[in-house]
């Protein structure tokens, strides 16, 4: 045993740095908060700049929405899981699509080999949506779709489904991830060149601003940028640069910022230092409000709101001693609630190596429910507000995020940075630094580089790949192609092609095409003819 020296001199105390590079002092006092702007002590939640929360009463009025990521195999199996989750108290759905759907390929495409229904549900035509959402009231359950490269087609399908089922899309709620810029940085389901990809996102924002005003067409994801290696400051900075880029492009079409800003939402990641994450969200909320009001001169208060889903990220979980992940995700949930998120999702403990089983999905759900019902987390708003440390760190994180955004701007902005691969290079460097720190034992990870156990027996049950469901999906698609009015389908696909060439908003023509059961692969195929495909710059 090592004996600790008592009476260590202050200068001998090991320096502590957060992942973002900020130094942490051993003690904070009221003097640290003197760095804050005058009047900050008076700030209340629900008031600009919303450091303490976007609503005055937050969870006291209504707890955060629980929205677990789910979807696998075919629409039939997914529908069963959805109904299971709703029956167990989940209030929103977060739909996972398989990689073929995400990359805009039909289930019978040779490139989809082995991927159909593997990491999410396979969607080929509107018929699949009709099956997946069967029995689910689209007014009561808000649906969030994790879709990006082919998002415009899936959003069109969702609206087409709602219209066919008799809902007024003016009142339709829900979210699409649809943040293509982050797909180039991490996650990788891009299809078209960067400029054309952004154009499609702006088409959905414009269409929603005019026709589906309560729908959130974009959820800007710091989440995947952080999962790809970015530190918490980069996560927020890149996400804000991306959200600003979408805003700028939308405004170029003559749409006022207040017509769409309040429908932009965000998706952030949680793992790592507890206090750093909480300060990150409080700082982010304040900074986004300031950007929207001061830079964009928004008039509506909601336009300044940083509405977010903040979830326990997969990158923090370990394959070693997987049950420890249950504990980790409970801490992530706590961070998320203390940060004042609107919606929460947790990775399941087995997500480091497989997609969630029903059991692990239930544990994640219960983790959040225990916190809401047993821990008093909803009783008072921003319970850490006023903490010397948290307030100081919030100020420091805000400055650091601003600095990082300036770097991106000086390099020509986020769109140019992504197109050239510079941003990807910065993130991948950071991933290497983090991985090396873990392997060298500088960053500790329980079960990985400390408290290791030899010869661990695997205790995780794997979610099996359903090959029968994949085969059924192909049969169903072929049957639909034979049944539908093909003359009409080809005519409508032609209209999509023409609209793409003429550079007009593609939403109306795609909605018309999906209603006649044109497939995801057919529509994306037509757009590839016009736009070409992204040529990935190789950086590592």
């Amino acid at each position: 045993m090592e004996t600790k020296t008592v009476n260590k001199k202050a200068e001998e105390i090991k320096k502590v740095f957060l992942e973002s590079g900020l130094e942490v002092k051993p003690v904070y006092t009221y003097r640290d908060e003197y760095n804050s702007e005058p009047g900050f002590e008076e700030e209340l939640p629900g008031q600009y700049p919303f450091t303490r929360g976007i609503h005055p009463l937050m969870y006291r009025k209504r707890p955060f929405t629980i929205r677990q990521y789910a979807g696998f195999a075919s629409p039939e199996e997914t529908n069963e899981r959805f109904n299971f989750l709703i029956k167990n108290g989940q209030t929103g759905l977060n739909v996972a699509f398989d990689l073929s759907t995400q990359c805009g390929l039909d289930s019978d495409d040779p490139r989809a080999l082995g991927e159909v229904g593997r990491v999410g549900m396979a969607i080929d035509t509107l018929e699949d949506f009709e099956i997946a959402f069967n029995g689910i009231d689209l007014d009561k359950i808000t649906v969030s779709m994790t879709i990006n490269g082919s998002a415009i087609v899936l959003i069109a399908m969702y609206f087409a489904l709602a219209e066919k089922r008799g809902y007024d899309i003016k009142n339709l709620r829900g979210t699409a991830q649809n943040d293509i810029l982050k797909e180039f940085i991490g996650r990788g389901t891009w299809i078209f060149p960067v400029d054309k990809s952004v154009k499609l996102v702006i088409d959905t924002i414009e269409y929603c601003a005019k026709n589906v005003p309560k729908y959130s067409p974009v959820s800007v994801c710091g989440y995947h940028i952080r999962e790809s290696g970015a530190n918490p400051v980069q996560e927020m900075a890149y996400a804000f640069c991306i959200a600003k880029a979408y805003s700028d492009e939308t405004m170029k079409r003559g749409i006022d910022i207040d017509e769409f800003a309040s429908r932009l939402s965000f998706n952030f990641d949680i793992y790592g230092n507890l206090f750093e994450q909480i300060a990150k969200f409080r700082a982010g909320r304040r900074l986004w409000a300031r950007i929207m009001r001061e830079e964009y001169q928004t008039k509506k208060e909601e336009s300044c709101w940083l509405r977010m889903i903040a979830g326990g990220g997969g990158a923090g979980l370990t394959k070693e001693q997987p049950e420890n992940n249950i504990v980790r995700t409970a801490y992530y949930a706590l961070i998320s609630a203390l940060s004042g998120t609107q919606t929460m999702a947790l990775c399941t403990y087995d997500e480091a190596f497989t997609i969630p089983t029903e059991k692990s999905a239930e544990i994640a759900l219960r983790t959040m429910q225990i916190m809401i019902d047993e821990m008093g987390i909803c009783d008072t708003v921003d319970p850490l507000g006023g903490s010397y440390y948290i307030e100081t760190l919030t100020n420091e994180m805000e400055s650091a995020i601003i600095k990082e955004m300036d770097i991106v701007d000086k390099q020509g902005g986020i769109i140019a940075g992504v197109a050239s691969g510079k941003i990807q290079e910065a993130v991948s460097k950071q991933a290497y630094i983090r991985e090396k720190a873990i392997q060298d034992g500088k960053t500790l990870k329980v079960g990985v580089n400390c408290y290791k156990k030899e010869e661990e027996k695997r205790t995780v049950e794997f979610h099996p790949y359903n090959i029968d469901a994949a085969n059924r999906q192909v049969v169903k698609l072929k049957k639909k192609r034979a049944e539908r009015n093909n003359e009409q389908v080809f005519k409508l696909l032609g209209a999509v092609r023409e609209n793409a060439k003429e550079n007009v908003n593609l939403m109306p023509s795609i909605i018309a095409a999906v209603k006649e059961y044109a497939s995801v692969g057919e529509i994306i195929g037509v757009l590839k003819e016009v736009y070409g495909e992204y040529d990935e710059p190789i950086f590592f």
Binding site: L99, S100, Q102, C103, L105, R111, A112, L113, G114, E115, R118, V119, E183, G186, R187, G188, T189, E227, S228, G229, T318, K319, E320, A352, F353, T354, S428, K429, A431, Y432, E435, K436, Q439, V448, R458, F462, Y465, E536, I538, F540
Partner: protein, 125 residues
């Protein structure tokens, strides 16, 4: 050593493969990375052109068995004899099956980078 790192299939998780690329480069090796979403045919073509000493596949979507079988088949067709390894989201019980399919080694997630780099450096035909 010249290493060709490849991402077959549709999986977009490239953190691991890029971290490995960094590490190999730092250890003084030549690394060629294909980028995302390459078909097995494209990878075999690139291997024919680049003539690497070893090929590394990175697959995290769970499609490893199907894609690796395809690689063996395609390499045989092109009479290409280059050793290859595979890394990613691979359950322990799949490792042996992948070896039988033709991989000289399979590395599940959680493997230390040093282990993989060491394996590649010390690999002998």
């Amino acid at each position: 050593m010249k290493v060709l790192l490849a991402k077959p299939g549709l999986d977009g998780h490239d953190v691991g493969v890029k971290v490995l690329a960094h590490a190999l480069k730092e250890a003084g090796h030549k690394v060629v990375y294909t980028g995302l979403r390459k078909s097995i045919e494209e990878i075999v073509q690139q291997a024919t052109d680049e003539k690497p000493d070893i090929i590394g596949l990175s697959i995290l979507s769970g499609t490893h068995q199907i894609l690796c079988e395809k690689l063996t088949e395609e390499m045989l067709k092109h009479k290409l004899n280059i050793p290859w390894i595979v890394g990613g989201n691979i359950p322990a019980e799949d490792v042996e099956a992948l070896r039988k399919t033709g991989a000289v080694e399979a590395f599940p997630t959680g493997t230390q980078i040093e282990t993989v780099v060491g394996y590649i450096i010390n690999f002998k035909h």
